[in-house]
């Protein structure tokens, strides 16, 4: 709408006509307090905190419901308004307990802030407060009834935001309370968004309550390690003996692609980090065949010497490498570089959940056709083919719901089963379970209403799930490429499944989907093995026949996934890097204790191709990042570390400054400057940013917008592949991608070791009578 000009507190502001006054003021840096108003949710106008004086209007007006128009004049702070707000707070405090010293929200409570600002700390009411006992609605959500100020934010967030509708208000007047749908239990997706938006301490989190105070934590903004959507998450960490522990996860700063959204896994599923079963010292299998603790030096030397001996005697083809869907891009890149340049093998793969090579192949030669999550949020029309975002991609589901609700985006759902997002869809199309491959032809036919509507869209983002693999991906992408303004996104499973694929954890593909057979693919590294290696199942088959003498498994549990027997690995020297003694680690000869994504830095790529920075939040003694382990392992093999990690050359060089005189301490100041600019000197062989420099230089498609990336925003990447390449899965006819279908409370190995997620799963499956949602 056209811009209008109006005056607020003597300042002349301009905003589109119809903008809410409260939004226009906040954009201009004028803060208007509000408890019930929440951006993106419907208006409630229940709290009366945002009252302002509008010229020529007899009564105070609520800024959250007033839309701006030409020539209006407002005053937002005056004695009259302060008096009105103070009276509102006094009413709210009529029953709100003053237990701030023990309340979780103390220190970050909106009511507390406003009470301080307007000075209503002394109650004028003589009536006794009505105390009622706290309720536990689920393992995640607690409700303290007297603290509630009935702003309805939780109800609207749960209903409009999450489309769950699990909360309501019951009774009236002073007896009003928020009530969950399952009597005294909450039957929902357990996302915790209600806790997040609560302006006071009425809704508290099972995992955070009474643990700490907000000011005792450091807040580290990083990326969630669970699904492939890549939510920004702010981890509240606190110093403990032996490191730093995570006490809370949220995204209240609304940074990144997810705004304030987090699902149950992102919000509560960080506790695997503190699981007592976590490995804290490296293990070596002793002469009796038992794994026993060892020092890092001994374990590294032992593993390095053994790997070197096997490589030198039997060649690189006798070694297999398995990478991870959860490690950073830098670690994945380093792993494949280590495999190809130090171990001299192309036997490298990872547990594939999604057929990204088919996607890259289908898009070969077409730039700018992938959709980042931001593109999906801005798209006027989205075709969702397969997948179940509500369960497996909560952020995508949130983005689609929000876009349909607020931007009137048109969502088309083609799926073989009913999914919860059908409720937001303009049209749905049921497909037979094997019908995904025929979808392109069905759309082209243009007979059904669904096809007609989709064909009528001038601009479309096609998001497809793992039901589409191989030829189905090729057909769908080819269909879209024929049409103008169609972009694509492919749904994968884990935090960095896309990164693992992009970084070339494939027996036949280098980083950026460059075929290993391509002459001069990575010119900087001459002498790379040029014949495709063995895929993951082929590696274990080769290990069983004795063809493979050593395996290095990083952050993966293929023994469970493939059902490998101990017998099959008995003649193979197995090195495992992991957090826990998984089924695979239990069969290893050397186990290196690795850290999780929350304890390291680097970058990850979500399934939409958005690269984001990961920052180290938690810390503990005895564990090392996979990056450091790989560098040390290469060192133990006698490899040239400077070649492996290009530290201390090129890129940003640190200025070490002067060591004496007036400018002594310059280095410190310099590092302060670097830190303030989100830069780090690449002085150490364990600095992932040194490898990120190389990724940017060598990996096609990874031309990153550094400033955006370093300031915590996503940087979109492109898929790039040489046309004409045939992936190995197409050659041997086997479909190597096995979707894990992790739901709202499961997350592979990490989920198994997360008590919070297990408890939520238990709550939803056993303690709530009916299954949630749709």
């Amino acid at each position: 709408m056209a811009d209008v000009t109006f005056t607020v507190d003597g300042k002349i502001l301009t905003a589109p006509a119809g903008t809410l006054l409260i939004d226009a003021c906040r954009k201009a840096g004028i803060e208007i307090p509000a408890f019930c108003y929440y951006p993106g949710l419907s208006l409630q106008a229940a709290c009366r905190m945002c009252v302002v004086r509008q010229e020529k209007v007899p009564k105070l007006q609520t800024a959250c419901t007033t839309t701006v128009a030409e020539g209006q004049v407002f005053i937002t702070e005056s004695a009259e308004i302060a008096q009105a707000r103070k009276a509102t707070i006094q009413l709210l405090l009529g029953n709100h307990p003053l237990d701030c010293p023990v309340c979780d929200a103390g220190g970050e409570c909106e009511l507390q802030d406003m009470t301080f600002k307007y000075g209503a700390g002394e109650s004028l009411y003589s009536e006794a407060k009505q105390h009622r006992e706290e309720q536990q609605w689920s393992p995640a959500v607690f409700y303290d009834r007297p603290r509630c100020i009935l702003c309805y934010r939780c109800i609207r967030m749960c209903g409009e935001g999450m489309d769950v509708w699990a909360l309501g208000v019951q009774n009236r007047g002073v007896n009003s309370v928020i009530a969950p749908n399952g009597g005294d239990q909450l039957d929902c997706e357990q996302c915790g968004m209600c806790i997040d938006v609560c302006p006071v301490g009425a809704l508290t989190s099972g995992s955070y309550r009474y643990k700490t105070r907000p000011w005792e934590m450091n807040h580290v903004s990083t990326v969630c390690t669970h699904c492939a959507d890549g939510c920004k998450v702010t981890l509240g960490v606190r110093q403990v003996n032996g490191g730093a522990e995570i006490v809370r996860a949220d995204n209240r700063d609304k940074s990144g692609i997810n705004g304030d959204f987090l699902c149950a896994k992102g919000r509560f599923g960080f506790d695997f980090v503190e699981n007592p079963e976590r490995l804290t010292t490296p293990l070596i299998r002793n002469a009796q065949g038992k794994l026993e603790p060892a020092t890092w030096e001994r374990a590294l030397r032992f593993a390095g010497e053994k790997l070197k001996e096997i490589r030198d005697s039997k060649g690189g083809t006798a070694i297999g490498v398995v990478g991870s869907n959860r490690t950073t891009n830098e670690e994945n890149y380093l792993l494949q570089k280590f495999a190809r340049t130090v171990l001299h093998t192309n036997n490298i793969d990872h547990e594939r959940s999604t057929d990204y090579p088919a996607f890259a192949l289908a898009l070969a030669g077409h730039a700018g056709k992938t959709a980042g999550l931001g593109d999906i949020a801005a798209a006027p029309a989205i075709l969702l083919v397969g997948g179940n975002p509500t369960e497996e991609h909560p952020l995508l589901a949130w983005t689609l719901r929000t876009s349909v609700r607020l931007n009137r985006a048109r969502l088309y759902v083609a799926n073989s089963k009913a999914i919860k997002l059908d409720r937001q869809a303009r049209l749905t199309q049921e497909l037979p379970p094997d019908g995904y491959k025929d979808l392109a032809a069905f759309l082209d036919l243009g007979e059904a209403d669904f096809s007609k509507a989709v064909l009528a869209e001038e601009s479309l983002v096609v998001v497809f799930g793992q039901e589409c693999r191989g030829p189905a991906v090729a057909d769908l992408v080819a269909w879209g490429l024929k049409r103008p303004n169609v972009r694509f996104a492919y749904l994968g499973d884990q935090a960095n499944s896309r990164g693992a694929a992009d970084m070339g954890l494939f027996p036949d593909l280098l980083p950026g989907y460059v075929p290993v057979t391509e002459p001069g693919g990575f010119a900087e590294y001459p002498g790379l093995p040029a014949t495709p290696g063995k895929s993951l199942p082929a590696q274990f088959a080769a290990a069983a026949t004795g063809e493979l003498s050593a395996m290095l498994v990083v952050g993966a549990n293929p023994v469970l996934g493939l059902g490998v027997s101990a017998e099959a690995l008995k003649n193979t020297f197995v090195i495992v890097q992991d957090l826990f003694l998984t089924e695979t680690a239990a069969l290893a000869d050397v186990v290196f204790t690795a850290v999780s994504l929350y304890e390291k830095s680097g970058t990850v790529t979500n399934t939409f191709g958005d690269v984001q920075m990961v920052k180290k939040a938690a810390d503990r003694a005895g564990v090392k990042s996979d990056f450091e382990i790989l560098v040390r392992l290469a060192d133990a093999m006698g490899a040239d570390i400077k070649t492996l990690v290009p530290f201390g050359k090129g890129g940003v060089l640190a200025d070490l400054g002067q060591s004496r005189g007036a400018q002594a301490g310059e280095a410190d100041r310099h590092s302060v400057w670097l830190a303030a600019n989100n830069l780090e000197p690449r002085l150490s062989p364990f600095d992932p940013l040194a490898v990120l420099d190389e990724i940017e230089r060598l990996v096609p498609g990874y031309k990153l917008d550094r400033i955006n990336l370093l300031s915590g925003n996503p940087a979109h990447t492109e898929l790039n592949l040489t046309p004409g390449f045939v992936p190995i899965s197409a050659l041997d006819g086997s479909d190597l991608a096995v979707p894990t279908h992790d739901g709202l409370f499961t997350s592979g190995t990490l989920g198994r070791y997360s008590p919070a997620l297990n408890e939520l799963e238990q709550h939803q499956t056993h303690e709530v009578a009916a299954p949630a949602g749709d």
Binding site: W165, Q170, R172, A179, N181
Partner: protein
């Protein structure tokens, strides 16, 4: 609601509710009248009633409870066959409403929201019932008795006891 669906209600009420749902531009507008009619027939809003009303309107049971708990005229426990609502709002109060209310309590041996052991009577103190001109007034189910005095209480109760025993009311 399709005819083959099981319903708690009499065919007459079920038909009435079917018509109500169609009556408004938004289905949930029918919620409060439906709850009232259902309460009149069943006596109170049982879990089963709430569940069926929710299903008829296509909203969650939680939504139904949110609305129902707001209104004091809707109840979640059975009342007596005759629910006596005594007004003690200002006009009735000034003209002796509390004396009438106290007499009812003495006669029935129950207090606010109480139900007699035989289930015939229940008693409630309520806000204005709109009969100020003839205060003090009470409402028994849908019938009004006005310009009351404590002495008249016994007669009113006797009349309803007769009805409860299946006899014709006093003239």
């Amino acid at each position: 609601m399709s005819p083959e669906t099981m319903t708690l209600f009499s065919p007459r009420l079920a038909a009435r509710l079917d018509a109500l749902v169609q009556k408004y531009p938004v289905k949930r507008s029918a919620l409060i009248p439906m709850l009232l009619y259902a309460q009149d027939e069943v006596g109170y809003l049982s879990d089963a009633v709430i569940s069926e009303v929710a299903e008829r309107i296509g909203i969650t049971e939680l939504d139904v409870r949110n609305v129902a708990t707001y209104y004091s005229m809707l109840r979640f426990k059975p009342a007596g066959k005759f629910n006596i609502q005594v007004c003690t709002n200002i006009s009735c109060m000034l003209r002796g409403g509390y004396e009438v209310y106290e007499r009812f309590q003495e006669e029935l041996g129950i207090g606010h929201k109480g139900v007699t052991a035989d289930g015939v009577f229940s008693l409630e103190e309520v806000e204005c019932i709109g009969a100020c001109c003839w205060a003090p007034a009470i409402q028994v189910n849908y019938d009004f008795h006005d310009e009351l005095k404590p002495e008249l209480v016994r007669g009113i109760l006797d009349g309803y006891r007769f009805q409860a025993e299946g006899k014709a009311p006093h003239a």
